[in-house]
């Protein structure tokens, strides 16, 4: 968007701040920093003593890393500009959250000093201690825990509140001390990332551009079908997915948004939203599949050539003649023996049968259909089936491997980033060794591991199970999987750096409180953060982190932003009070073990950044030199388009899928084997084909006491729980429970009323938003709001944390957080 020519008056009265607008570079002045030696780039009109710009990036976990251009006056950040470099269409502009980062950095509630706990865990009572005492206490507890319980009892909790090249060093510290209990998976895509390899092969991941197409391909489609995908609330930055879709949609494809609520990507549209009951997407797909089959609209050549298990013709020998194909499931000859007619699907999904037929017809008539899903759908108790089911719409109609199509997975992500991070171990034999611990657990299983202690059973990840099943196809992977052990004593020491997954972002906050209250189970918890989050309230020692704006920061394109880039800059201001960079704190802890030089490799954090940058520049000659990146702050370039499985489709013999059969496995023998051998909780299903399974607290689970389905979503007021302390975001994005008038009216609930939401796990008090933007029978509220309850009293959460309402039942295949969006509940006027 170009700015029209304007008459310009000369600058008569300029303030320092305004005259500094023309400055392109940023320099830091911290004494002794690497940056000091670089040429200053201050514009003549700027007084570097008072006004300067400093480049940095947003460090939270939305998937993007929008670019900040801090304006600093007299050593203090006073406002923010964003990426304003070059082509306006290729600027990583910060979203509303990023634009409030100054208020986070300069917030009066920032943690200021190291503290130790003085009240019961989870109640937030602390007193100030010195850094010396904090470091010594942590070192003593580490020594005690290693000696008494072993390194496999020390767990580093999943945490994503801070991304930076030097941000994650807990693993490195622990590898200096003999290792730690590692985790697998993540809270974003757990179910999806562990089941998709069974269908699309080993290596399939939500974080690459082989198995999914980039968003620009949606612009080349006639029809785009989005399942629960709302980048307008999740990936909001100016170089992020929301902008990519906005441009793709302006190229003219018809767009259908399948979601239980009218998400912000539907803004301004008419007839785009196809409302569906939460957790029933796989039933909709089955209804569409029935219509495609009945009308002979399936691409049989495609299905027979590239896929296993659509119909009897391509079933593996072990499953032939047993009515176990996808076709037999849909047409009622196998599994539950129900024909999946649109009428059957309508009852489950709330989508009228005529609409289901219309959707099938649209896919049939389109030349290219781009099928894509967000990650909320797989964060259901039935997510492992549902996430594969969505892909069936692409496979049944052969919409794969060419322009304007996609695999049904979420849009492609960039293939990494131009620079790396401080490694958790070194290649140098005299450096930090690899983790020696042979056990591992799912990121969501840590609470179970704490509770069960030495009774906790070995918990392979599904990729290991697949490797064991494939055996001879990759003997190395199979041997590695066979060597995995169970942790011997559960979790006795918990590290939590910059994350809120102890309670707020985990499942069942009340169960967390109950489990961690027993100090004989997990004996010691260290939390490092910038605010008193709900997770921080469980810390035995709580440390105040410095913000990345207060350090030299290097970061890259985010994992969801489809470009290639790196930003180096800072500090914009000094850390306040006794806040310290975590790198320096860990060096001090390592020092107590005589391992400081091993941990640091003799380098300061700033020296690491220079080395990491130069290592990246050595393999990517297009990157500017170190001196040049310090001067310009930001480097970006566009990435080539990606088409899901293009090579495999073009030549499947030369490029087979890395599945046991070498084909796309609609029917998976490996999953069938796991279904027969795994012990599952009541209501849990592992199925060899992508069928509709209601799941735990899914369709049909509502009761008289809890008659409504409930889900959560990622809204614009925060990134997960990050930014949750900021009043301005809360005031301009009120936390509200969405309820359809069909459900609100009989309960006498009016828009703006305070309501009590109760599930089998707990109670939340929140404001009601009576709205047509949500499907009847489902209520929903954004996730990430901060838990606020008297845990020694009634435990009623007035902060509105959705995990007060979720139950803790790890998913059947991935042991992931499937219950996040599978809740049954009741709502009443408070």
């Amino acid at each position: 968007m170009e700015f029209p020519s304007m008459s310009r008056r000369s600058f008569v009265k300029t303030t320092g701040a305004l005259s500094a607008l023309a400055v392109a570079g940023a320099t830091a002045t911290a004494a002794g920093s690497l940056i000091e030696a670089t040429p200053a780039l201050a514009d003549e009109a700027t007084s570097p003593e008072t006004d300067r710009f400093v480049w940095s990036q947003c460090n939270v976990n939305c998937g993007g890393r929008c670019i900040f251009k801090w304006h600093v006056r007299d050593g203090k950040i006073d406002y923010m500009l964003t990426d304003d470099i070059g082509n306006a269409d290729f600027q990583a502009r910060a979203c509303l959250r990023g634009r409030t980062m100054r208020q986070w950095v300069n917030h009066p509630d920032r943690l200021q000093y190291p503290m130790k706990r003085t009240g019961p865990r989870g109640t937030g009572k602390y007193e100030r201690i010195s850094w010396d005492e904090a470091v010594q206490t942590i070192a003593d507890k580490l020594k005690y825990t290693i000696e008494k319980y072993g390194n496999d009892s020390i767990y580093i909790n999943y945490a994503t509140g801070m991304y930076s090249a030097t941000g994650r060093t807990t693993e490195r510290l622990m590898n200096c001390l003999g290792g730690y209990l590692p985790m697998y998976g993540d809270y974003s895509t757990g179910m999806h990332q562990y089941v998709m390899p069974f269908m699309y092969g080993v290596g399939t991941s939500p974080y690459e551009n082989i198995s999914a197409s980039s968003v620009d391909q949606a612009g080349k489609a006639d029809l785009v079908i989005m399942f629960g995908n709302s980048p307008a609330e999740t990936r909001m930055g100016g170089a992020n997915v929301v902008w990519d879709y906005a441009r793709a949609f302006e190229e003219g494809p018809e767009v259908i948004q399948i979601d239980y609520r009218m998400n912000e990507d539907c803004s301004g549209t008419v007839d785009e939203w196809l409302p569906i009951r939460t957790g029933t997407d796989a039933a909709l797909v089955a209804g569409v599949a029935h219509e495609l089959i009945k009308n002979d609209w399936v691409d049989l050549d495609f299905l027979h050539r590239y896929c296993q298990g659509y119909d009897e013709e391509t079933m593996p020998a072990s499953a032939k003649g047993q009515n176990k194909s996808y076709y037999d499931y849909i047409m009622g000859a196998g599994y539950d023996h129900i024909e999946k007619t649109p009428e059957w699907a309508a009852e489950i999904t709330l989508v009228p049968a005529a609409k289901i037929r219309e959707l099938a017809k649209k896919i049939h008539e389109a030349t290219n259909t781009f099928v894509v899903q967000g990650w909320g759908l797989q964060r259901h108790s039935n997510g492992e089936s549902a996430t594969r089911a969505v892909c069936m719409l692409a496979l049944l109609t052969g919409n794969l491997g060419r322009e304007g199509t996609n695999s049904g997975m979420r849009e492609a992500e960039p293939p990494g980033a131009p620079v790396g991070s401080i490694p958790s171990s070194d290649k140098d034999p005299n450096g930090v060794p690899m983790n020696m611990v042979k056990a591992k657990i799912s990121c969501y299983s840590w609470l179970k591991c704490v509770a069960e202690g030495s009774n906790f059973q070995k918990e392979l990840d599904a990729a290991d199970e697949l490797a064991l099943f494939m055996g001879a196809q990759d003997p190395e992977a199979a041997a590695a999987a066979a060597a995995i052990e169970a942790p011997k004593n559960g979790i006795k020491f918990l590290w939590n750096y910059a994350g809120n997954c102890i309670s707020n972002q985990h499942g069942d906050v009340n169960l967390v409180y109950e489990t961690l209250s027993d100090e004989g189970k997990c004996e010691f918890i260290v939390v490092v953060d910038t605010f008193m989050t709900d997770s921080a309230k469980y810390a035995d020692i709580l440390l105040p982190d410095a913000m990345r704006a207060e350090q030299l920061n290097m970061s890259t394109n985010g994992y969801s932003e489809y470009y290639w880039g790196v930003t180096v800059g800072g500090p914009a201001q000094e850390p306040p009070f006794e806040c310290r960079p975590i790198y320096d704190v860990f060096a001090d802890i390592a020092d107590k073990f005589g391992k400081k030089d091993l941990f640091t490799a003799g380098k300061t954090q700033d020296e690491w950044i220079k080395q990491l940058y130069e290592a990246g520049a050595a393999v990517d000659p297009l990157l500017p030199s170190w001196d040049q990146i310090l001067a310009q702050g930001v480097y970006k370039r566009e990435l080539p388009t990606a088409i899901a499985f293009q090579k495999n489709i073009a030549d499947p013999v030369a490029n087979p899928w890395k599945t046991p059969s070498g084909k796309i496995e609609i029917y998976s023998e490996a999953l069938d084997h796991l279904a027969a051998t795994r012990t599952l909780s009541e209501g849990q299903v592992i199925a060899p084909i992508p069928l509709f399974d209601p799941g735990v607290e899914g369709f049909g689970a509502v009761t008289e006491e809890f008659p409504l389905y409930m889900s959560g979503w990622h809204d614009k007021a925060r990134t997960h729980s990050s930014f949750g302390a900021l009043e301005v975001l809360r005031e301009y994005n009120r936390h509200r429970l969405w309820i359809n008038p069909v459900d609100a009216n009989p309960r006498g609930i009016k828009d703006g009323d305070k309501v009590r939401v109760t599930s089998p796990a707990g109670t939340v008090v929140i404001e009601a938003h009576v709205t047509s933007k949500i499907v009847p029978s489902v209520i929903a509220m954004p996730q990430g709001f901060w838990h606020e309850a008297n845990m020694q009293g009634d435990k009623v959460d007035t902060g509105g944390c959705i995990n007060t309402l979720t139950t803790y039942v790890p998913s059947p295949l991935a042991h992931g957080n499937g219950p996040s969006n599978s809740i049954i509940a009741q709502v009443k006027k408070a």
């Binding site: 304007m6 310009r8 909001m236 100016g238 409302p275 009852e347």
Partner: protein
Amino acid sequence: MAQFGFYYDNTRCTGCKTCVMACKDYYDSSIPVAYRKVFDVEGGTWKEEENGAYSTDAFMYHISLACNHCDDPACVKMCPTTAMHKDAADGIVKVDVNKCIGCGYCVMACPYDAPKVDRERGHAVKCEACWERLEAGELPVCVSSCPLRALDAGDIDELKQKYQGTQQIHPMPDASITEPNIVIKPSAAAELAYANTATVTNPKEV
């Protein structure tokens, strides 16, 4: 520039409020004060269908509005001290803080609710189109912040040449009252809203 104006692409806007927060940060305005606001508008009903299914004609859209620097500004006409004035050079409606007594008549007069009285500062405050930035050849902060590139600003005649659009979408006040200098590209939902009952559903956020 004879007359400043804004362009707003209602088809692109996702109601993200980045424009609101960027402006608030730049001007360090207190929490309740915002020079630009985003109104959430929604409407539609639900109907039960066969097999217990439902259909709906629900729709929603957003309206991002700052001051429209009107040709006939109600705030200027109502101001008892002449503090609120229209700059002859660029048509931007500004507050002379030395004259303003903070009476709030401008707040009551403006049909767009654009001016506010900042109690801490003791005078009216409003969008003045980032006129210092304009003079330095920069766009207003809200425009250059928009992740959807849904905003533009400049000479209103040039904006009208560059973009097709209208001066109002539902439920904005009738443009004939103050003659706002804004070009809006209406979304399909906003056009539909004229024939529907659509309401602002976030009154506490604007």
